[in-house]
């Protein structure tokens, strides 16, 4: 942890309130995000228990699996989820703007610009916590290989029509969430923790209720008091006052409330099945509905506080002004969304279970570039982030004390002015180290020349001064100007092009087999009651 954020945490301890870690918002927050609060059944992967989902804080859609081990109910949950998520996704696919992309012309092998569509906006999915992001991946993995009756009339348990497509989108979002700085799928806890420091540890910060107690306290309650209540406070029935943000439920809830309610539901189903006359069937049906309503009520009671908490978190974030370069990253997210839209439209198969050699390497390279980009952009957007880099010796703020004009020694001399600058910061400058400042949003480079006797630095400005002998107006800093310089580059270089999958070299196992198709997951008898 950097000293500056450690200090912020300690100030939070002292004041009992969260303290800022950022002065602008570093993530895109959509005007119309889709919030998803999922719950799952303990001990079983891919057995959802329920969810609240929707784009309106006041009108969540409640989805509940009354008996999580019933395959039909599970499928109808997934079908309902698809009916909430996919229309939302679809509402972004058709609104496009014209954009350019450089592609390699297959005939000439040269790079050419092609006109393509770029979706003007993209769907944004918000879940309560990191476990929620993991659960989105799990849902994606469990549904994208399902077969519908249309795809495969022979399949013993056909999935509802749109479920595999839901799986592909959730998979794409889950994967994109691993790209640093991406905002397509975000956890509310991550959003809050990026922007504020609490007086507790980062482990405790994963609890959304406790986190909000520091950030948005109830009247008169201090951060630690509220957080403790959120963590362990229970009512007279032993239930948590602040249910976990999921997808796991509290064991006390499972054992004391949910299990009896599901048992009642099971009994009602059996009774209904065994009904021998119309009257008994009517009574059985009534009892089944009551039992079902009770399970729904219980699941909703666990989901609703978290649902409200996520929207509170979004409200807090919206109060921060957006960082200047957040839009640039959101544009990359829009490209990512558009790209996946195109793959779906083109009829490509679902994402494979495992990345192949090339896909893994190129994803890693993209994420490393995104990480570099994010670190640079956040520092350029936010003086508080820059302060951390200055403390680490990776940036410095300096006042220009003197400008001496100088030129290269070539036939057509180009300007290379020397700047003498004064700073209180202590950058780790090696000989000839390059430093950068932002000039009209673009980086301008200089190199470190020497230290003067009085401790000031001499820098040689290297570029962005135009083509003539005299530097372009405004391209050379003036005496007295205060400028932030960074030792890191502002933009990331494009990495090398990797081979095509069919050209995978022998060192990495050669080209992948082309006859391998992704089969749907095996069906287990335990899935059905």
């Amino acid at each position: 942890m950097s000293l500056i954020s450690a200090l912020a945490r300690m100030e939070a301890v002292e004041s009992g309130r969260a303290q800022p870690l950022a002065t602008v918002r570093h993530r895109h927050v959509s005007a119309r995000p889709l919030v998803l609060v999922p719950l799952t059944t303990a001990g079983e992967a891919g057995a959802p228990l329920g969810a609240l989902v929707g784009t309106d804080a006041d009108e969540p859609r409640l989805l509940v699996v009354t008996q999580p081990r019933d395959r039909d109910l599970r499928f109808s949950f997934l079908a309902d989820l698809a009916e909430e998520v996919l229309p939302y996704v679809d509402s972004f696919t058709d609104v496009v703007e014209a954009a350019e992309r450089s592609e390699v012309d297959p005939e000439t092998g040269k790079k050419v610009k092609v006109e393509v569509e770029l979706c003007a906006d993209a769907p944004q999915l918000i879940v309560p916590s990191r476990a929620g992001i993991e659960y989105v991946r799990l849902l994606g993995r469990s549904t994208r290989f399902r077969r519908t009756a249309e795809q495969d009339p022979e399949t013993p348990f056909p999935a509802p029509p749109r479920v595999p497509l839901l799986g592909r989108w959730l998979t794409h979002y889950g994967d994109r969430a691993r790209v640093p700085g991406s905002s397509l799928l975000l956890a509310a806890t991550d959003l809050l923790n990026r922007h504020w420091a609490t007086g507790q540890s980062s482990l405790e910060d994963q609890h959304l209720g406790a986190l909000l107690a520091w950030l948005d306290p109830r009247d008169g309650e201090s951060g630690p008091e509220g957080a403790l209540r959120a963590e362990v406070g229970r009512d007279e029935r032993g239930q948590l006052l602040c249910p976990p943000a999921g997808p796991a439920t509290d064991p006390a809830f499972d054992n004391r409330l949910l299990a009896p309610a599901i048992e009642r539901y099971d009994r009602a189903r059996l009774a209904l099945g065994a009904a021998e006359d119309g009257e008994a069937a009517d009574a059985g049906l009534g009892e089944l509905h009551r039992a079902e309503r009770e399970v729904r009520r219980l699941v909703a009671s666990q989901l609703k506080p978290t649902w409200d908490a996520v929207w509170r978190a979004l409200g807090l974030l919206r109060e921060l002004p957006e960082g200047a370069r957040v839009e640039d990253r959101w544009t990359r997210d829009r490209w990512s969304f558009t790209g996946h839209r195109d793959r779906v439209v083109a009829g490509e198969p679902p994402q494979p279970r495992q990345d192949d050699v090339i896909a893994a390497a190129s994803k890693l390279a993209n994420r490393e570039r995104a990480q570099g980009q994010l670190e640079a952009q956040e520092a350029l957007d936010d003086p508080l982030v820059l302060a951390g880099r200055r403390l680490a010796g990776e940036a410095f703020a300096a006042e220009v004390a003197e400008v001496t004009m100088a030129w290269t020694e070539s036939k057509r001399p180009a300007p290379r002015p020397l700047l003498t600058v004064r700073t209180e910061d202590r950058p780790h400058l090696a000989e000839k180290a390059k430093v950068f400042r932002s000039l009209d949003g673009k980086p301008q480079a200089a190199e470190f020349v020497r230290y003067e006797e009085d401790g000031s630095l001499v820098l040689r400005l290297l570029d962005r001064m135009g083509r003539s002998k005299e530097p372009a107006a405004g391209s050379v800093p003036e005496k007295g100007e205060r400028i932030a310089w960074t030792l890191f580059e502002h933009e990331q270089r494009v990495g090398p092009k990797l081979p095509e999958p069919e050209e995978t070299p022998w060192t990495h196992g050669g080209p992948p087999r082309t006859d391998a198709v992704e089969l749907p997951d095996a069906v287990t008898p335990e899935d059905v009651l």
Binding site: V232, T249, P251, N255, A387, L391
Partner: protein, 361 residues
């Protein structure tokens, strides 16, 4: 040790949670003493007013039991298939039932000896092993041990978290590996006195495959965990020293002492609270409250300490940062002052900017 636990209280086994707590915080003397003496920390924590938040859902327990039954079905053949043995011949399933832990461990030892001499496959279902820790036996119960015809003993650990596309939650696999490593250590002591026996340094981890209830398995090399745990258990023997430093008559007898007495007893042993304890130790909430009262910087995470040098409390750090205390020549103090100045400068600048912005509107 029995005095510390209280008369008539059976010692708690060194279960998975105790092992996890040991791994998470081997340097905590309070945890070492309580676990070493076999004190029921969950009961103790409740009595201290900070009950442990651990519990298990009955859904998970049911699912886990049905899965384990499935793994052990077919006279052990399913499990051997997971080990890669398709044609095991006759598989012996010795009866390990006996009275009391001593009886069960003796029965297990006998079964292991017989199976090793028999030169055939054998599956020991829930054997009971004993490992001497801090001078007293600790009982351990692996899910299963497989004996191969060449006398090799392999620990089998059955877990209910899934292996999806060959991968599983790495922190859960890590915990399973540490747990299994203890079984390997206990088996090694027995193998040393059993002719022809060896103990595999890899264990078989069995989990549900993907989203199904079908078992799948992965071989996990536990050599590292074994050597680490061996050292940590060796260190546990020092709990005698910790106990010797206690005031005369100190006891953690949960049934026989008042909350105030227990609090005093617990406070007489130093803790080494870190946030990682919350997921592993029943007493964590109690210790956290104490650490917060003392203003310990560790409450914010172990990593916070790295650059603070000798400053150990939040108050001391803030005073040093504000220039109210501390030696300016201490690099930690100097760095804190720079950090605070830079932070303040940035916040001031941001608020000036936002005032400007609101003035424009």
């Amino acid at each position: 040790m029995a005095e510390l636990r209280g008369p008539g209280t059976a010692p708690r086994a060194l279960d998975a949670r105790a092992l996890a707590a040991l791994a998470a915080n081997p340097g905590c003397r309070r945890r070492a003493l309580l676990d070493g003496a076999g004190v029921d920390k969950a009961a103790l924590a409740s009595k201290l007013g900070s009950p442990a938040p651990f519990g298990q859902s009955q859904f998970a327990i049911m699912r886990g039991n049905s899965f384990e039954a499935k793994v052990k079905a077919d006279g052990g053949r399913e499990l051997l298939r997971l080990l890669g043995i398709e044609e095991p011949g006759a598989v012996s399933l010795p009866d390990l039932a006996a009275a009391g832990p001593q009886g069960r461990t003796a029965r297990t030892a006998l079964a292991l000896r017989e199976a090793t001499g028999a030169g055939a496959w054998a599956l020991l279902d829930h054997p009971l092993l004993a490992l001497e820790v801090a001078g007293s036996p600790v009982y351990l119960e692996p899910d299963a041990v497989v004996v191969s015809p060449d006398g090799r003993w392999t620990v089998v650990e059955i877990k209910s978290f899934p292996m999806i596309d060959g991968a599983a939650d790495a922190s859960k696999v890590g915990a399973a590996a540490r747990q299994s490593a203890v079984y390997v250590l206990a088996l090694e002591r027995m193998a040393a006195v059993t002719e022809g026996a060896t103990v595999a340094h890899s264990v078989l981890l069995v989990c549900p495959k993907d989203f199904s209830n079908v078992p799948t398995a992965s071989v996990v090399d536990v050599r590292k965990q074994r050597s680490v745990t061996r050292r940590q258990l060796a260190r546990l023997t020092r709990i005698e020293e910790i106990a010797d430093a206690l005031p005369e008559g100190t006891t953690f007898d949960v049934a026989g002492c008042s909350a105030a007495e227990l609090t005093e007893a617990v406070e007489s042993v130093p803790h080494a609270y870190a946030p990682e304890c919350l997921a592993a130790c029943e007493l964590a909430f109690h210790c956290r409250a104490r650490a917060r009262e003392a203003g310990a910087v560790e409450t914010l995470g172990r990593a916070v300490r790295g650059e603070l040098g000798g400053l150990t409390t939040v108050g001391a750090v803030l005073a040093a940062a504000r220039g109210e205390a501390g030696d300016p020549d201490d690099p930690a103090v100097a760095a804190l002052r720079r950090a605070r100045a830079l932070r303040q400068e940035a916040l001031d600048r941001a608020s000036a900017l936002s005032e400007e912005a609101s003035a424009c509107h």
